[in-house]
Structure formats: C-alpha cells, structure tokens
Amino acid sequence: MADTAVRTDRPRQRSPLPKPGTGTLVRAGVVAVLLLFALFGLPQLLSLYYIDSMTQVAVWSMAALGLGVLVGRVGLVSLGQVAVLSIGAWVAARLLFATAQPYPLVLLEAGLITMLIGTLIGLPALRLRGLYLALITLMLAGAITVVLATANFPNGGHGFFGYNGSLVRIPPIRRPGIAGSDPAYFRYAVVVAAVMFLLVLVHIRSRPGRAWAAIRQSEPAALAAGINTWFYKLWALALASFITGVAGGVLAGADHYLYSIDFPTYYSITLLAVVLMGGAYSLWGAIVAGLLWQLLPSVLQTWGVSADWLTILFGVGVLQVLTTAPAGLADQVPKDLARLGRLLRRLAERGRAGRGGVMAR
C-alpha cells in the first residue's frame, strides 16, 4: 500500500513544465547589453571621480546582494553585514600583503574564510528570528568593529595581524596586474560582481532557492515538505558571507588603504535600509541599493549638497517603500513607468480624437 504513488491514466493536455520564454530571453538580452555598457561604455563616458564611485557601487551591490539573500530569500534580518564585509577586506588585505598569489585566488580565499567565520558567528543566531536575530547580529557587528579597531587593518607589517603602527611609508594594497588603473579596476569589479550575481541566480533557480522560498513563506510548511530548514538557512548564511567576503576583497583593492573607521556599525543598518529601498526580493534591487548607497552621495557632492541629507532621505525612502512598495524600487519603478506610458498613450489618443473632431466640423 505504501509503495503506491498517485497514478492517473487520462491523457495530459496541459503544458507540462516552465520553458525559457520570450520574456526570459529579453531579460537575458537586456542584462547582456547593460553589462557590456558597464564594461566598455561607462569608463569612456565617466570622469575618474565617477569611475571610482561606480567601483564602489559594484562592491556595495555585492554586499547588498548578500544581505538580499538573507532578508529577501530566507527572511533572516541581519544587521551585521558590513562587519562581515570588513572581515573579507581584512583577510584579502592580509593575504595580498603576505603573499604574491593571483588576485582571483585571493578573492576566493577571502570569500571562503569570511564564509567560515560568518557562518560560525551566525550559527547560534540561526535559532532566532525577527527582532532578536537583528539585535544579535547588530551586537556581533559592534563586537567585530571593536576587534578591528584594536587589531587594525594590515598595512604591510609582519605577524598575524600584519600591522605596524610605526611604519612611516605605508604601502598601498595591491591590485591585480591586469587592473592597475581605476577604469580597469572598475571593469574588474564589475566582472567579479557579475559572477556573484550569477552564483546567486543559480542558487535561486535550483533546489536551495526553492527551499528558501518555502522557508521564507512558512517554516512549518517547509518542514512538512521535508526541508531541513536549519541546513538551508545555514546554506544561505554561508552564501551571503562568501559573497560579502569577496566584496570585501574587491573593496581592499579599490581603496588601497583600509581603516576600521571605514566600517562603522551603523553602516549595517543603513545597508539594510538601502536594500529594502532597492528591493530585497530581486537581484536588480541589490544594484539599485548599490547606486543609492554609493552613487547618490557622489552626485550630491557634485551638486554641492551635503551627503548628510542622505540619512533623512533614506529614512523617508524606507518609510515610503515599506508602506507603498514592499518589493522596493526595482519592482515599483518599472510598474510606475508602465503606468505612466499607458497614461501618456491615453492622453495622446484623446488628443488625436479631439483634433479629428475639430477637423470634421
């Protein structure tokens, strides 16, 4: 009896499984065009000031992507993601000073070591959810900030920490040989970010992504479906830590010099705010978050407006998003644009009809 699966003998009439449709191909085409434009168009169009800003956008988009995996995919609210980023940056800087390994290998190692540390730190927190998880991760971020302020970032010194406070001339953190200039390093950062986005996309479209969707909506339903929720939450935590660690490695090369004051604890809260504004449930949201976090201050600075206004702007933005567009700007803006397009079309049609009426008279 128990070995009997449900069997039906009627001929099947429905289309059985999702196939890549026109929409998917169009989306893939748009992504490819945007990626090519970022790689070859932007460095030609932008000044060095904005190229540096866009490199930071690539870095922080990766950090937002990691946080988006936790918040948007699994429903785990972390307020310690910038501390994880600082761990990745520290590990990469230490490896870059201590060894002559190729840069991609250093990024991979930074990602893996950060993944290990991030997962170990987050392991006990996995028993918690919601406000308590957010509080615990915030406290952990604070602790990491204190440790980094004491240990300092590597500056070419010896020993485990690689820091020498008496150094007169501090060597910069090296970049890959093929990406020494700012435009080349920007391209490098975009390629690394693209690989990270692809990694998350593969996860979302496969078994872990489906398990995360179930866990986010209903943990009891996920358990009833045989999903080991603890394991898949751990998987999400490991993936988010890996991506954020790699982002830290790219940040190390972008900044050349790292200081603990570059990673204040409250940045993790602001990062969550921009992720929610951008859209925690979509990959595009992570890019929007990166643009809000890094490009917007540069633009405001160019206009002579203090970047401090951003704190207020982000506060209002989060309020607006949470009340009117929970899926974020990445979801809302295309809908609003489509609505605007329909409105303009209707107005144009009415105008044409009105002119026709006058001519007939």
Partner: protein
Amino acid sequence: MIEVDGLTVRFGGVTSLDGMSVTFESGTCGLIGPNGAGKTTFFNVLSGFVRPAAGTVRAFGEDLLSMVHFRRARWGVRRTFQTEQAIEQLSVFDNVAMIHEHARLGGAGRRRDVLDAIEFVGLDADPSAKVATLAAGQRRLVEVARAVVGRPRLVLLDEPAAGLPETETEHLSEVIRRIPGQAGALTILVDHDMSLVSACCETTAVLDFGKLIASGPTAEVLRDERVVSAYLGTAEVL
C-alpha cells in the same frame, strides 16, 4: 494504522491534549471537535512541530515521535494547513515537486509523479504558473497535490474545505475519497463541515477540551449524545 496511546500536550498551564488514546485503522478517518479541542495540536504532534509531554504514537508499527520533523515527509507523513500554505513564489509544479526533492524519493519518475498528483486533484491550472496567480480554491488543491505526491503513508488534512464554495467543496470531497485507494495512504481529515466528514470518513474520532469523547463509525459518532452535546448542538447536522 496509527496507534495513539496516552498522548498529552501541555502549553504552560493549558493541557491541549489530555491522555488521548485512539487508533486510526485505514482509509479516511475524521477528527472533529469544537475550536480549541486539540485537533491541530494533534496534527502538529504527528508532524513533529510539537513535542508531547507524554504518550506514544506508533505509525504502521514505527515510533513516529522518535523521527526528526523534516524526516517525517521522507517516511511518508504529508499534511495541509488550516491556513493554506502553498508557496506563492514557486510554480505549481515546484510546489508539488518540493516533496520529491527533499524527501529523497528518487528523481527518475519525479516529473511524471508530480504531474500525476496535479492531475489527480483535478487542478485546472498550468503547472508552470506561479501559485501567487491562482485563486484560493486552486491554491488549496496545490496543497492537497503536495500531500498526495510521492509515496504518502499518512495524509493529514487540516480543514481543507475552509472558505471554499459548495461546488469546490464537493470536488474536494471527491478527491479526498480517492486518496486511500489511489495514493495508498491513511488519511485523517479535520473539518467543521459535517457533510464533508460524513461523505469522506468511514470512522471518526471526536475531541473536546483535549480529551477523546467518542470514536467509531462516523454515522454512529455523529449521533452520539456526548458529541451532540459538546459539539454539534443538534443531531440533524447530516
């Protein structure tokens, strides 16, 4: 066969199940009682979400309570929820295939098995459609398809007809009646719709304040004075 012996569940000072002892033999069995009687708590114990303070549950000779909750799906426990829990972000196919994917049922016949389950429940929707786009009745059927896919041994249906119109309830009733025969699973149905329970269940057990007050053939149970007094209010519900 599910043998429940002395099952007791306490939440602080509240005793939700009080020494429940009952046997669910085969086919489709009803479990009824007023709100707060402990029906969903009983399902939660079988699913592994609630650890009982005392008692045993033997399912087809095996100690169900000793199994880790997420492994029970692999063993053959399936359930639906009072508040429908089809995963909105996933397609109909992925919702049903989730059981196969995580209960390690083997991948060779997965596709066929999942589509058969969707067809078995009579779900008139494209398997590739996102659940978020479906109507409430269709989403209920997705949950039921998830409960019958693979090789279920014990199917727990928690108020599957709640909020459904009469025509959809009738369709659901027909699907539930076919589960033991075609899926080969012992089915336990919790519902407040007595016509559904009467139509589907050969036997029924009744809980009141966590205590079992009656069990036996459904028609007899529904005429039982204790059941009428504690729950039905009138013997003419049929």
